[in-house]
Every structure is written in structure tokens, then in C-alpha cells.
Amino acid sequence: MYSFVYVKKKKLFNENIRLWLIFISIVVLIMLLFSFILLYKAKIYSQDNKYIISKILQEKKQILNLKNKIELIKKEKNLALEIKANNDMINSFIQNIFDLVPDEIFLKKVIIQKDKLYIYGFTPSKEIYNKKFLVSFNHIFNQNKTNFYRNKYGYFFETRFRIKEDR
């Protein structure tokens, strides 16, 4: 006997079920893939985070270090400026004192203290001392106390001034 009908293998799932299964598998795969991509990206962000945090800590340490250095330099700068200002002030103060002394008066000893000035010297007369010496010094100094001692050149004087400005 010869038959024209082939024997068909019976499929486990029919067409309809296969379609469903393929559809569900694709959707599940897409979802899993998407989830994997998200997790992978999250991991990359997490690694970058660690790197950035370490950089932030490192830079904060650098900033702190720089702040300390800047503070130190500023203190050093202030110290140097104070020294320069003090020296300039003292220099001009000494020059002023010697410039104020008239030619007729001869200085023997000068002591400059923070707020006092002692001058010892010779003057031919009290008049020259008062008119030429004391007048100009009174512009800078507050109080003065003078003792005169007569000698063969005229007068030996001791004058004590109190300085107006706080030096």
C-alpha cells in the first residue's frame, strides 16, 4: 500500500503557544537586559563616585594646606611690613631731630626713647635756645623741662621732651 499523506511529527507546542512563548521570552529578555544595563551603569557611577570623593578629599586637604600656607605668608608679610614701617619711621624721626637743631646749638648727648626724648647740649644763650631750638621742637613734642647750667661757652642745657605721637 502506498499512502500520499506523510506522517507529521506532532509538535510539542502548537503555533499559537509558540508565538506566546517567543513573545514572553523576548519581553523577559528585554527587561532583564534593561535591568542589567541599569545595574552596569549604576556600578560605573558608583566607581566614578568613589574616584570623585577621593579627589574631593584630596583637594580639600590641598586647600587646607594652602590656607595654612597663605595665612603664614600673610603673617610673614605683615611682620616684614611692620619692620619696614618701623625702621622708616625711626629713621625719619632721627633725621627730623637733627635737622631741627640750629647751627648755634651744639648737641652733646641725645637719648630717644619710645615716648621721651632727652637732649643735652650747649647753647650760647637762653634766647637762642628758646627762639631757635625750643620753638621748632615744640611743634613735635608736648611737654618739656629744661635745666640750664652756666659755663664758659654759654649754657649747658638738659631738656626732656614728651613725644606727642605714640611710637
Binding site: 519581553v27 541599569l38 563616585n49 574631593i56 625711626i90
Partner: protein, 167 residues
């Protein structure tokens, strides 16, 4: 379509929906949350990093400016005290009679040494020049005494030397 196929499709649809929601709730959503959290943290850290970097750049500019500005006198403050150098320096303008250390104090950032100097010269101009050319770490202090004897001007004064403490 037979009734049987419709029911089967419905069952598959229900199965698909359940699976979809289960995957959404237990796989995709946690991944998404983790991703969002990591990204948010990354963005926040990046903003902080930029701020810190800007601050660091500002501090670097300030540091560089201060270093350039103060380099001329910083060198003096960072050099160790050399007595011979001072003696030579005094002798350049006057004749040194004596130099005596009267104080040595260590402060937070610098050390201060105080010396009593006695020198002689012919004119106070030598002292003006001496003070004018003093190093930026040397401070002249009161009291300053001038005594004219035998054609010489004897000067006594204090010098303060500052040097930055080496760490």
C-alpha cells in the same frame, strides 16, 4: 477561533501580565532605583567637586600672587641668623664697638633675637643710611642713644632679628 484557543490566549495573557509585573517590581524597579541613586550621588558629588576645584584654583592663584609679591623679603625671613653678616653690615656704615645678645624668644611662627649694638661714627648720616638699608627682617628699636665725645659720635641702639621657625 475556537473557544479553547481563546481561553488559552487569555491564560497566556494573564501569565504574561503577572510575569511582566513581577519582573517590573522585583528586577527592573530595584535596578532603576539603584541607578537613579548612583546617578544622583554622582551628580551631587560632581557639583561638590567643581566647587572644591574652583576654591582650590582660587587658593592657588592667591598663593602664587602672595608668593611672588613677598618673595623679595621672604628670603630674609627664612634665612638663619648670621652674626658675622651683621657685624660686616654695621662696619659698612659705622665702626662697631660691641654687639651683645640681650634677648632670644621663640614665638609661634618666628624667633626674635635682640642685640644691643654700640658703634661709633662721624656723622648721623651713617646711621640714616644704615637704617635705610637694613634687611627686611631687622628692626631697629628704642632707646637710641647718641653721645658726642672727642670728635666721634657714639651710638647705642637695639636691633631685633626675626627669622621664621623652620618646621
Amino acid at each position: 477561533m475556537t473557544k479553547k484557543v481563546v481561553i488559552r490566549n487569555f491564560i497566556f495573557f494573564i501569565f504574561f501580565m503577572i510575569l511582566f509585573y513581577l519582573l517590573l517590581i522585583f528586577v527592573l524597579t530595584p535596578s532603576l532605583k539603584k541607578y537613579q541613586k548612583s546617578k544622583f550621588e554622582y551628580t551631587q558629588n560632581l557639583i561638590t567637586f567643581n566647587k572644591v576645584q574652583n576654591e582650590l584654583n582660587k587658593k592657588l592663584v592667591e598663593f602664587s600672587y602672595l608668593t611672588n609679591e613677598t618673595s623679595s623679603f621672604m628670603a630674609f625671613l627664612h634665612t638663619k641668623f648670621d652674626k658675622n653678616r651683621i657685624v660686616d653690615y654695621i662696619n659698612k656704615y659705622m665702626t662697631l664697638i660691641s654687639i651683645k645678645e640681650i634677648d632670644n624668644k621663640k614665638f609661634n611662627i618666628f624667633t626674635k633675637k635682640v642685640f644691643l649694638i654700640k658703634a661709633k661714627t662721624n656723622t648721623p648720616i651713617s646711621l640714616y643710611k644704615f637704617i635705610y638699608h637694613l634687611d627686611k627682617n631687622i628692626n631697629i628699636k628704642y632707646p637710641i642713644k647718641f653721645d658726642y665725645q672727642d670728635g666721634n659720635l657714639y651710638i647705642a641702639f637695639r636691633l631685633e632679628f626675626f627669622s621664621i621657625n623652620q618646621k
